[in-house]
Amino acid sequence: MVICSDAFKATADAMAEVQGAPGYVYVTTPHPVAGLTPEQVRERAESVAGEVARLLAE
């Protein structure tokens, strides 16, 4: 399961390809993440939790 900020999509897609999994589906969250407060990180986690659960169940 991969979660990354949307600024790193190009690298994530390329990584999937060299790892032999082109088109690998992952979850993104808006960039930036580095400067968020712990509370904002918690909000981010909640916002992607549903999608993470859905992908894990697939």
């Binding site: 190009a10 690298t11 990584m15 060299v18 790892q19 968020l36 407060t37």
Partner: protein, 360 residues
Amino acid sequence: MSNEPDPDVAREAIEYCYEQGWTDGLPVVPASQSRLDEFLAQTSRDADEVLWRMDHLGRECTVRTAAINAAMAGCLPEYFPVVLAAWDAVMRDRAAKGGGWQSTSGPAPLIVINGPIRHDLSVNCTGGIFAGGFRPNATIPRALGLMLRNAFGVAPHVFDQTTQGIPGRWAICFGENEEESPWEPLATEMGLEPNANAVSCTLTRTYEFVDNRHTQDPEQLLNDFADTISRTGVMIFRAQSAGIVFCPEHAQMLANAGYSKTDVKDWLVEQCGRVEADLRRAGKDAVSEGGFGGRSASEEERVPGDVFTPFLPGRQSVPIVVAGARNAAISMVFRVFGEWSNSSVEIEPARSPVQAAKGG
């Protein structure tokens, strides 16, 4: 019939290299098998030896691939042992092993050459060490950049995630000005025999010069360096490493005042840093709590504003080199991206006569 090479044929070969995606934006020198053989003849290392493997990308670089890229970078064959030593030296850097090449910082390898080979290869050690104009200084670091691009596929916008990068990222290579340095050469300080031909290399994050032709007081001069080293903008973690490429004039002034290299390092370790209030003003107070965490600004004042946070963990975090011309008191502060290995790599002796005159 003229013996001059045909520029149109050369241009076609250069354009072919562009079409293959092999260049860093500037033209490369098309490499032939015979040229590759000349490079490989300069080293005792097997052409199939793997110099490095990036497991996460499933790619590796062999001595052969390094030679092809060194040739394309415009190196002469006799530079090749230096390229190999530079690669080995930078890969001793923990950050280079750990994905630093793909960092958003876009770190640049800083390559310092010591020993008589500086003269054999016409490596610039004096005026304009950061300013271009010399073949080995320009092509040896470029070879590393091409190896990264062509062997590992670390190219901009994909695996190279550089946000802005460092100006001259693949062009920072010079010889130490051993003749005008008052101190022992870097490679000797790192434990190699005096006069050893050696390369020291680390990944770096910024370059800022200190122009001080204003004082004869060594402490005032060191304070000017401390001010640059202590700027908050470069802070990302608490522990950082900053080196200095001293011009001969600054180095000699300090040495004449009785400072050894170690004395200079110890002085900077003690003095470089900021008080909590300064860090808080820049949103970097959480950094002072240490470690790799604490990047976000804290909401409340956690420690008194006058508490001093030193930036340099110890003298091993302050590499010092002497290079440049003796015509002005201008030196360069640089930031080590991760952690310098504090070591130098000996350059394998040339296996055929060095043709220094061709160095240009």
